[in-house]
């Protein structure tokens, strides 16, 4: 005779079991097999850890690849046609930025130049590939408090700010220390923080007026033209008008378009991005398989106990509730140590590589949701055997 699942209320009234009792049952069920649950919990814990680690690395790498843009306040950006990413971008004539100011909605503009130079530490003679960032000295465009503060220290032509997170080969980074950049003497006037290790060993920041002498680029050449609109202006409308106004050699992007396309380029085209991405895919695959495997074995081995509950007159909902409650509790218990291990490892990797790894609430809640979803899926699949079998068959 097919069994119809009982409604939760009927279960409670007909058997006299409250959800609290079911919860208790779940807990004592977990405690009854400590070794087995420890093994299952460890499996779930490491599956969660793996997903957090790989995903965290990918997110951090994406964030790092466009971190520089986060330091500036802009609504629209001008880049050269065919722009892919900042470190290899072709420049364009700064006249385009001046033209853009003809539009009334444009409040102000700011130019960012990016180039490459060799840094030589005079004590060790070590030569390091360095990214040179040139900016206009307009503090109101700079949102990063450190650069804002240090900008005033750029007084003479050879002063520069150096990325505190550069590789150690650049030598001791102290204020007033001299080094050679593109064969010219420079002096460390202050600091900023970028840690842009994917492409260069270090980074320095100078004013745009001295940028050409360290990079050999033309004086009118800039890499990204940043545009701030008047308050209340619609960025999309302004983007359309600017695109119509300016010649095809420059492309107008909104802030989020610029950042999204650059992160996508890093992840899809650059080898490191591809490796991080495949790491995440495989971590998901493994993590989900492990979660499924653990949940399904865990529920599967208790099937007899659940069948007994059923034979005793508990309704379907009560049995399902106990079983799923149990596995969800196990997952939640495994989640905490997984987050703990991840936090420790993230800290370690941050120390070693300066990659901006963070356990953001979004990351954690997504991983938690995935875990619980996988538990439910595996639990329900395994429990469906219950409804097909007669309790008597199970012995």
């Amino acid at each position: 005779m097919p069994r119809t699942p009982a409604h939760p209320e009927t279960v409670t009234s007909s058997t006299g079991v409250s959800p609290l009792v079911l919860l208790q049952l779940s807990i004592s069920n977990i405690l009854a097999h400590k070794a087995r649950n420890l093994a299952a919990g460890a499996g779930i814990c490491f599956a969660i850890f793996l997903i957090i680690l790989q995903w965290g690395l990918l997110l951090a790498a994406k964030k790092e690849s466009t971190l520089l843009y986060e330091y500036f306040d802009f609504d629209l950006a001008l880049v050269s046609e065919g722009y892919q990413f900042m470190y290899s971008a072709k420049g364009f004539d700064r006249i385009r930025l001046i033209q853009a100011r003809a539009l009334p909605v444009v409040d102000d503009t700011f130019s960012l130049s990016i180039g490459k130079a060799d840094w030589v530490d005079p004590d060790t003679d070590l030569r390091s590939a360095t990214m040179v960032v040139g900016i206009d000295p307009k503090a109101e465009f700079i949102t990063d408090p450190l650069i804002r503060d240090e900008l005033a220290r750029l007084r003479s032509n050879r002063d520069l700010l150096v990325d505190r997170l550069s590789q150690p080969d650049l030598g001791p980074l102290e204020r007033g220390r001299r080094a050679r950049l593109n064969r010219q003497e420079v002096e460390i006037a202050g600091f900023f923080e970028l840690g842009f290790f994917f492409y260069a060993e270090g980074s320095v920041l100078v004013k745009n007026e001295v940028f050409p002498r360290y990079t050999g680029r033309g004086a009118r050449d800039i890499t990204v033209g940043m545009i701030r609109l008047r308050p209340g202006a619609d960025p999309q409308a302004a983007q359309r008008r600017l695109t119509a106004l300016l010649p095809g050699e420059v492309v107008v992007m909104t802030r989020s378009q610029l950042i999204d396309q650059e992160q996508a380029y890093f992840v899809d085209i650059k080898p490191l991005g591809i490796m991080f991405q495949s790491g995440v895919l495989v971590a998901f695959l493994t993590g989900l398989v492990v979660l499924f495997q653990v949940t399904s074995t865990d529920v599967g081995t208790r099937l007899k106990e659940y069948a007994t509950l059923k034979a005793m007159g508990f309704g379907g909902a009560a049995v399902y509730g106990t079983a799923l409650g149990q596995i969800l509790m196990l997952s939640l218990a495994a989640f905490l140590p997984a987050v703990g291990i991840s936090a420790w490892l993230f800290h370690l990797v941050r120390e070693l590589t300066h990659l901006p790894l963070e356990l953001s609430p979004q990351l954690l809640s997504l991983v938690l949701a995935l875990t619980l979803g996988m538990n439910l899926l595996a639990g329900v699949t395994t429990l469906s055997r219950l409804s097909r079998a007669h309790p008597a068959d199970l012995f």
Partner: protein, 370 residues
Amino acid sequence: MGLGLRILWQSKLRLLLSAAGIAVAVMIIFLEQGFFFGVLDSQSRVAHLVRGDLVVLHRTRTHLNKWNTLERISLSQSGALPAVDAVIPVYKLAMELRNPDSDRLKRIVTYAFPPDSMPLDLGLSAEAVRDLRLPGTVLFDRRSRDIYGDIRSGRDLELNGRNYRVRGFVDLGPNVINDGAVVMSEGNLLTLRPSRRPAMGVLRLRPGADLEAVRESITQRLPDLVVMTPAELAAREVRFTATSAPVGIIFGIGMLAGFAIGIIVCYQVLFNEINDLVPQYATLRAMGFSSPQLGQVVLTQALSLSLAGFCVALPFVWYLYDGIAARTALVMELTAGRVLTVLGLTLCMCLLAGLAAMQRLWRLDPAELY
């Protein structure tokens, strides 16, 4: 078929799931290991291609992504030792190549050396070596990432604003930093950049020369140079990348995490597999099987499961490595040593899990199981 295998074979769905679980564990171990070694192997590849007994670098060129160069005079001095037969300069510099399809400038690494002495083993035919001598000729690294457009033999290529004719291909391969390479003769390079200094010198010794003595006297006379055998250079590169370069550290941690996960998954699968069959084992025991006999059955099961999982995983790993190598152009090599390492890890873990499960078996009273 032994008893252990027959027990496994009895529930085929369960066998499939367990083998799949182990296969996934094996795959993640291989993948993370592949990333780590892919970064290291690509980085140290040039060192393996050196055709000579010793290499000299400037002491400040602490790894091969550094641009520090050698004084030409110290290179000649090192070649003046009686035991040294020849010293060959190798130049390395970054140039801008114009992608002929998109017209965009892309950074590329240029290697240059005297073609007659071929300090690097680039898989060139005699004909290609002859072509390399011609003025205005470059050979393109066929393993470069495909950001440089359609480069064909016989076509012209713009490098740093000058045109060169591509007359063939070499096998070099990019790494995490560099996307591609071209090779030209020393003469061609010096025409373009007359004051350029070599990045590396390759020394060939006379037959019977004492390598250590040569190394000793160069180190003593020319303190600015580091002298290494090609194998030592490769080892130094691997060591630097694994311990000091951020990329090496990240993928090193990834590999360790992969090992940990893989091991835990294997353990998990086997522990459950055996744990769930406890009634069967208890029955065997009640029938008079001794503990060692029972242990043998359990371990047979553990070993065959791990082997099955490993074999299921291997073709996928092959496919995965191929795909990643194709997309990243990094060296993704499945050497026998690495395959055996993973196999060893898998087997060890499955054995341990089997032993742990057996502990439980021995404690049980057969009567309790009914």
